[in-house]
Each structure stands twice: as structure tokens, then as C-alpha cells.
Symmetry: C2
């Protein structure tokens, strides 16, 4: 008999704040880089190609005392049934006894840890004095990427918003983003923290349509789209630009020109996964780089065992494919907070 905890989507919204999730995801990357955490092989199955699939991502974090898994299903036709297309569940286990601890809705956890990932790439690789961020993609992830990045980069003044498919989406996003940042991402009880973050969120948002021009004006570019072809050409990019690419998580996806990889400093969350399903896939498959040209996992930069950016002119790329360790460490923090705050549904298994 085990005392378990269930945390719903609504529960995790109350429990997680972006500042802490960034810290936790940094820790997960560091533990992986120092071999205190590892991934197990990905299980992927297509029930109907292009219509329904599922994957199981799993692994362990010794120093965080946990192991576990996230199962994500994608069913394109769910929208006709009033069910989310993307459904995720996380299970967390105690690494010292093998006992189950909790089951959690993965939806909000995934949004938060993915936002944190993009921002961690920026924090450790972009120029410290970066002033202009371009957000490519204005879908579900955009607000999380922007919130997290503004928290870690206090000198940003301007955020360009670009949607390659639908400019109206970008306009609608612009109309609500300031309000969203100041409601969804300010769940802190400490007024000093709230005011500090409000100050960081006080930036100008601008919808851009001339992607060539806005690329040349951006210090940081985050891509979070389902794109299958490059939206940004190498020749548009100014020296010193940082890219966090979070959209590619499946073979065939691509957001930026593979030629950018030829002389960029490239980092990733998991080298094997980046080459097979990440933004690095095309550059490696077309022979522009070999896997050895990926400098290291981001955890080694955070650990200070590898240098990130060397000069103000470097192009840096963080290829974030998404790993189970991000979900597990974030879920485990939610569990700890839930017990302190008496949130969630306890049950016996």
C-alpha cells in the first residue's frame, strides 16, 4: 500500500512558478551532464500515421532521488471530440525504494519546462547585453518562452513577434501578451519578487512581417513552431545572435537554415536525441556538421566544464528537443509544493 498523490492540470498551475522551474530544469541539465541523471530509450508508436501516436520518455535523477516517465499521446482527431489533441501524464517514483509517489497531468508541466529550456539556452549562451528578442511562432509555447526569457535577461527592451503562417495570430497574441505575463506568470507571494519580474516584463511588443529585416535586428531568436522547413536564412543573421530552437522534436522538423550550423557554437539537451529528431538533424544528415561538431550538452556549460559563447561575434544555437528529466524534476517540485500547500488528491495504491 502506497500513499499516492494526484495532481491535475489546475493543481500544477497553482503549484508551479517559472522562476523555480528554470532553476529546476537547470539542475536537471547539470545532473545529466555530471552523469547523475540519464534517459532510458524512447518508446514511440504510431497508431495511425499522421493521425494518432504516443511516446514514453523515461529516466532517472539520482541526486533528485527520483525516476519516472512521461507518456504523451497525440490524437489529431480529438479536437472533434472536445478533447485535447496532446495529452500527457507523468509518473514519479522514489529512487531509494522504487515506490510510486504521484501521478500528474503533464500538460502545464510540459509548457513550463519547455519555456524554461528555451530561456536557459538564452541565459547561458546569448550576449549579456541582448536588447532585442524575436519570438518565431505565436502558438501555445510563445508566452512561456517569452516569460522565462524576460526573467533571465533583464536588458531586453523589445520583443518581435513573428508568425510565418498567420499574421493575425501574431496580432492577437500581441494584444494579450502583456496582460497574460502579468497574471499567469506572477504567482509569487513575495512583493519584491513580483515587482522585480513586473519590471522585466515591461518591454515593447511588435508584430513583424519582414523576417529578413527583423532577423538582422535581433540579438536572440527563439523558434517554437511545428515547421518542417527553415524560416530563417543564414545571410540575414547578424554576428552574435543566439538561437534557442525548441520546435523540433520529431524527424523532419526544421526551423532555421541548416547552413547556420556550419560555423555556430552548437549546444543541445541530449546529443543523441538532437541528431535524430532535433534542429541539428538536417545539418548532420546533410553533412554540414558531424555529431562531433556539437560542442556539448547545455549542462556542461551550466556546470562550467565547457565554455558557451567565446566572443561577442559567435552565433550560438541551443537545440532543445525536450527530455524526460525536465518533466520529472518539475513534477517532483510540484509534488513537494503540493504537500506544503495541501493541494491535490491523495489516494492509496
Amino acid at each position: 500500500m502506497f500513499n499516492m498523490l494526484a495532481l491535475s492540470h489546475k493543481d500544477t498551475e497553482k503549484l508551479l512558478d517559472m522562476k523555480t522551474v528554470i532553476e529546476k530544469v537547470e539542475t536537471a541539465y547539470k545532473l545529466k551532464a555530471s552523469k547523475n541523471a540519464a534517459l532510458w530509450p524512447l518508446i514511440f508508436h504510431e497508431f495511425e500515421p499522421g493521425k494518432a501516436d504516443m511516446d514514453i520518455k523515461s529516466g532517472y535523477l539520482t541526486d533528485a532521488n527520483i525516476f519516472g516517465l512521461k507518456l504523451v499521446s497525440w490524437y489529431g482527431e480529438n479536437s472533434n471530440k472536445n478533447i485535447s489533441q496532446l495529452i500527457g501524464t507523468v509518473m514519479v517514483f522514489d529512487i531509494h525504494t522504487g515506490s510510486p509517489k504521484a501521478i500528474l497531468s503533464a500538460e502545464h508541466i510540459t509548457c513550463m519546462r519547455t519555456g524554461a529550456a528555451g530561456a536557459i539556452g538564452v541565459k547561458y549562451l546569448a550576449k549579456n547585453d541582448s536588447k532585442t528578442l524575436m519570438m518565431v511562432g505565436t502558438g501555445n509555447q510563445a508566452a512561456y518562452q517569452i516569460a522565462a526569457t524576460l526573467m533571465v535577461m533583464p536588458k531586453i527592451e523589445k520583443v518581435y513577434l513573428y508568425n510565418s503562417v498567420n499574421q493575425n495570430d501574431a496580432e492577437r497574441f500581441k494584444d494579450t501578451i502583456t496582460e497574460r505575463l502579468n497574471t499567469e506568470f506572477l504567482n509569487y507571494t513575495d512583493d519584491i519578487i513580483v515587482n522585480e519580474i513586473k519590471e522585466k516584463f515591461n518591454v515593447t511588443f511588435e508584430v513583424v512581417t519582414d523576417i529578413e529585416k527583423s532577423t538582422g535586428e535581433s540579438d536572440i531568436i527563439i523558434t517554437a513552431t511545428p515547421s518542417r522547413k527553415a524560416m530563417i536564412k543564414k545571410e540575414w543573421v547578424k554576428p552574435g545572435t543566439h538561437f534557442s530552437c525548441v520546435g523540433s522534436d520529431m524527424s523532419g522538423k526544421q526551423e532555421i537554415d541548416e547552413q547556420l550550423f556550419s560555423d555556430a557554437r552548437i549546444f543541445t539537451d541530449d546529443i543523441t536525441q538532437s541528431i535524430s529528431v532535433g534542429e541539428s538533424e538536417k545539418a548532420v544528415k546533410t553533412g554540414i556538421i558531424s555529431s562531433d561538431d556539437i560542442i556539448s550538452e547545455i549542462g556542461q556549460v551550466i556546470n562550467k566544464t565547457v565554455n558557451g559563447r567565446l566572443t561577442d561575434n559567435d552565433i550560438t544555437i541551443f537545440d532543445s528537443t525536450g527530455i524526460a528529466l525536465q518533466d520529472l524534476i518539475t513534477a517532483n517540485y510540484a509534488i513537494t509544493r503540493a504537500k506544503e500547500m495541501d493541494i491535490g488528491t491523495p489516494f492509496i495504491l
Copy 2:
């Protein structure tokens, strides 16, 4: 938001009866044989070799409308902490939407589906007029194997009990088994069924120590031990004997003489798994048989696409390694019953 159900060990004890579990596990085998169900790759990790490990077994059953997984951890030192050494959790998902349905304690489910497996091997491969069953191993699984086998083989009159390590364990088991069968395995509301099964449970139990002699007197031999060397020699076995070997689920385990495989009719639950971790492993690795000598999976015998036993003199072997489909179909039945009987803990995810 998903309406989920948690079923504890105690809940599953109330919900599952062996007669139905046998039917369900037969269905799982049949679906697998007709390609309406399949396993995904096994994930296995040793945290500390010989002390702590975990595995994730997963798969789907299209016609049962489910997919899912079972995570089992084995922590040898848990007994010092008053926690089970073996801990299991099952998660079941709806194959039409990818939504999570329930989380269940896997302990009782595993006991029941493993008992059912051994008995299904007997039902489809042993001689119909078999009178003597020998149970090798008197640990946790023995009662489940005996209960299930007596249910499907009404002509059995005598059950030999053999424990290769500790005869006292076998004696203690004998003292309680009749009582256990008539309490733990009679959870039916229909008196006709209860009386029918009581009649089948009305057999003689006898502890044996001369394994050579008792082997020669047995029509059916079920092995359910953690043994790593053969306990039964080929020359002791009389023509027509059936073996259900359920103990081997890890490389290096073995219960019966590998020479028995040279002219037996061999069936399994999953050919790949049997060769790598099952009772067939040694016979294949030592070259006594090749994997092509395994006639088929048991599901094809149940489906009547392959003949099981051909003559009364055949030696038949069912190598049952244990597959996720058994757990998932049994868990799904428990979920259905739980809703009818209003058992379990509902929660929102």
C-alpha cells in the same frame, strides 16, 4: 481534465476472479497472435546490480481499446524497510483518444495473470485426462497456479508439492492450501459456479521429496521458482508430460533440463522474450534448438491456427515469460468491474 480511477491492491483483490482472468489472458494471447495487439520494447535498468532494478513493459490491444504500461521495481533491501521488494504499477489508456483511464496497483494483477498463464498452457497443451499435477515451487505464485489449473482441468485428482530448497515451506504450504483455495478463489456470487469450482478444488495434496519419482508420476508439471539451474532431468519425465514454466523472466534463470527441448513441442507467450529471458534461453544458447524450433506463440493454439499436442506421447512445454498485454487486459477488466461495483478512488487529472 480527465476522470481517472485509482485501484489499490485491496480493490483489485475484490474485483478480480480467476475464472475471468483466465478468459481475459486467453483473449490477450489471441489478439497478439492475430496481430491485434503488440508489445513495445522492454526498458530495463539496474540501479545497483543484484540490489535494485526496474522495468517498464508496455504495449497495446486494439480490440480491447487500450494501451498502457506496467512499471515494476525490485528493491532487495526494501524488506528491511517494511516495504515490498517487488512493487508494480499499471497505467491504462484509451486507444481511441489517448486519454488516461486509470492507475492500478499491479501486485495482485500480476499474481492473477501469471496463475492464469500457467493454467492456459496446461489447458491447451496437457492431455485432457491428466490426473496428477506437480507444483514445483511453493512460494507466492504456487496458490495462483494451482487454483487456475484446477479450474481448467477437472480430472486432476492429486497435486504434488515440491520445494527444492526448503521442504518445511512445502509442508506449511500444504497445511493451508485447501483453505486458501476455498476462500481466496471463490469470490463468485453464483452458487452454481461456487459449487462447481469447490468440486474442482477437492483434490489431494502431497509434499514430495523424491523429485525423480514424482516427476515420473506427473502428467502436468508447473515450475514457478527463481531457480538458476534445472531441477528436473529429461530422463525422469514420462511420455505425454506437459510443462508450464513460469519462473524464468530474466537471463540466466532455468527450471527444467534444456535437453527436454530437443524433442518437445514448445510454445511461448512471446518468442523474442522467451529466447532472451525465458526458459527457452538456455536451449537456444546451447544450440539444442534454434528459435525456429519453437512451434508458435500460445495464442495461435488458442486461435486454432496451430496444433498444440499431436499425440498422447508428446512432451509439451509452455514457456511463459510474462507480457504487458496480460496485465493490461486484466487491469482493464478490473476498471470495468470497479465502475459497476463502485469500487476505487476517482480523481481528476
